[in-house]
Symmetry: C2
Amino acid sequence: MPRWEQGSADRLTKAALELFEEQGFEDTSVVEIADRARVTTRTFFRYFPDKREVLFAESDRIRTALVQAILDAPEVTEPLQVVITALTGFDWTGPGRELQRRRHAVIAANPGLLERELIKQNDIAIEFIHALQRRGVEEAAARLATRAGMQVFATAYAHWVEGDDGADLRELTDAATALLRTLLPADPSGPSPAEPRSRARYLP
Amino acid sequence: MPRWEQGSADRLTKAALELFEEQGFEDTSVVEIADRARVTTRTFFRYFPDKREVLFAESDRIRTALVQAILDAPEVTEPLQVVITALTGFDWTGPGRELQRRRHAVIAANPGLLERELIKQNDIAIEFIHALQRRGVEEAAARLATRAGMQVFATAYAHWVEGDDGADLRELTDAATALLRTLLPADPSGPSPAEPRSRARYLP
DNA sequence: CACCTGATGTCACACCATGACATCGGGGCC
DNA sequence: GGCCCCGATGTCATGGTGTGACATCAGGTG
């Protein structure tokens, strides 16, 4: 195929993004997308397993890169820091900031696509947990570190994109981590009735 | 309608559960479910917005009860404890332990239903966050407390159902909370390069 | 009895998704 | 050059999902 010609997958993604912006996700049929990309619907489904997936082609690349970052982290690093560092170290601009913004806006505007985004995030979390376990982290700790780390990052990221001041993303994650710590009861004797903890089943 | 006769919705749910057990979710059509329940597919879609939802009718009741538990918690309670207490205080056996077990087994065996379960949990999380905010908790804290609390509960619950010893669910959540605390860097000076924190944007 | 109302059935239709097979065009090999 | 192979795409047929419009039927009520 000549290099100057976009592949069908790219044309389909572009067409879908445009149509979703123009008339919404639900009111756009696969036929319309395929027509605009000058292919048949059969070709659409050869490239994407279903209609929603057309906006999530990058997802695989992102997930793989993040998991690799976790596996590559220095051995001594604490699991929560491993997760947060992987997330903050990733280049989220991807294939162009503007395209990324449009894609995100379309997803945010459509419940169906939001669901798919949630699934994708969950897939990433699952692989994070496995990656941490491969680093020797025990399962319960891996689950907690992953979910907490992703939520901490989400909190920081939200403040980062909407923040007026050019705060550093790392500093924001530190602040979010600190906030999370304030939510946990103090360690030796908490506000709860000072029952001494029964043997901590999950501690190493 | 005579009292001794089950309503269509109940018959549909029962039929669907049986068929999903017998031949799987994907290989069961709405037509089959409707036939076994002695109604038409049109009636199926009057009671359930889509095929998956047939196993999640209880979801609304559960979500409502949990949110109410959060709103009813004593005013002084810390947000994380509010979430955990709401979850541990709920009667998860619902409409019969055996039915609940079958339903859960079917969901666990089908990716499509697992996705829906994830969505439902997310819906619950969103309402938890709103409920906490109504209690005066700031948004970032509400998000972190909700996600952390749900994950802590999930960790404890998993150990509870698979545990041989009859450990108390409350003790298990305490243990999981303690584990989460060990994952966070120590508060005043952590293992990270001792950069003094810039003003903590999220602290009260 | 006539009427109303809620639940259900009937019919038609659009869309999503996939299997089976045909076609077409370019690159390599003799 | 001519042939063949193969990957990408098109064509056709089909099954399942989900919804709107309207008909029907039963029970309760005046």
